[in-house]
Amino acid sequence: MSFTDRIFDGSSQALNLRAQRTQLLATNIANADTPGFKARDMDFGAAMRREMGALASDVRRTDGRHLALSSLRHGAAAAQYRQPLQPRADGNTVDLQREQVAFMDNAIRYQASLSFLDSRIKSVRNALRGE
């Protein structure tokens, strides 16, 4: 685990996943009227655990020029299809109200992650300044 990973303790991974989820949910909202479209979402907890596992189990590097494994594993989290509440006759499974709620929830949590990251950066700054 690198120095910055230890300081930020997964906040940057969380932000990345949140941004990915924002895009998935925006796609659902955009396709609310597309026939046959299946709404998708990600299991944030599982994706986050996977990211953190990747961080913790990074291989030992014997040379400073080696790449960290965690930097390579940075792929998109698997999206899963949502269980529809009221599927439409044309095969569309977007429940707009649920997508709106999920989008808002995701945005708030993104801001929370930002705040955590921000306060970490501020503490590191204070430590460096040594005031």
């Binding site: 924002t22 998935l24 659902n28 955009a30 597309t34 026939p35 999206a79 921000d118 700054r125």
Partner: protein, 135 residues
């Protein structure tokens, strides 16, 4: 950064919905256009949406207008012998467009447009806040 991709998704949705609004406006505008033969009558147009999938697995794509369908409904034939556009037998032809349907469709389209704008607005705020990180 995924947030910009999210903006693209919302932008594509705005494009698709505005195409839909455009066809509805065209259908409403031409609902009462009378012609003197069946072939000349305006046909209602409806866009067909399709999901645009991103090349990256697990990422959302967007939406696009796949094609614009023309209504197959036959024109309405009315017997109005005195009408200046009436054909030899005294009939005029008008498109079979249900204005109430079109209005309902328009409301749905404008709601979808608003939803996408809201998603875009939220994404913008998130991106702006990310830019001020560590200030």
């Amino acid at each position: 950064m995924s947030l910009f991709a999210t903006m693209d998704v919302a932008g594509m949705s705005l494009d698709a919905q505005s195409t839909r609004l455009n066809t509805i406006a065209s259908n409403l505008a031409n609902a009462n256009v009378v012609k003197s033969s069946e072939a000349e009558v305006y046909r209602a147009r409806y866009p067909v949406f399709a999901a645009a999938m991103s090349a990256v697995r697990g990422e959302g794509g967007g939406v696009r207008v796949e094609r614009i369908l023309q209504s197959e409904l036959p024109a309405l034939r009315e017997f109005v012998p005195g009408h200046p556009l009436a054909d030899d037998e005294g009939y005029i032809y008008r498109p079979d467009i249900n204005q109430v349907d079109e209005m309902a469709n328009m409301m749905a389209a404008s709601r979808s447009y608003q939803n996408s704008i809201q998603a875009m607005e939220t994404t913008k705020q998130l991106a702006l806040r990310t830019l001020t990180l560590g200030r």
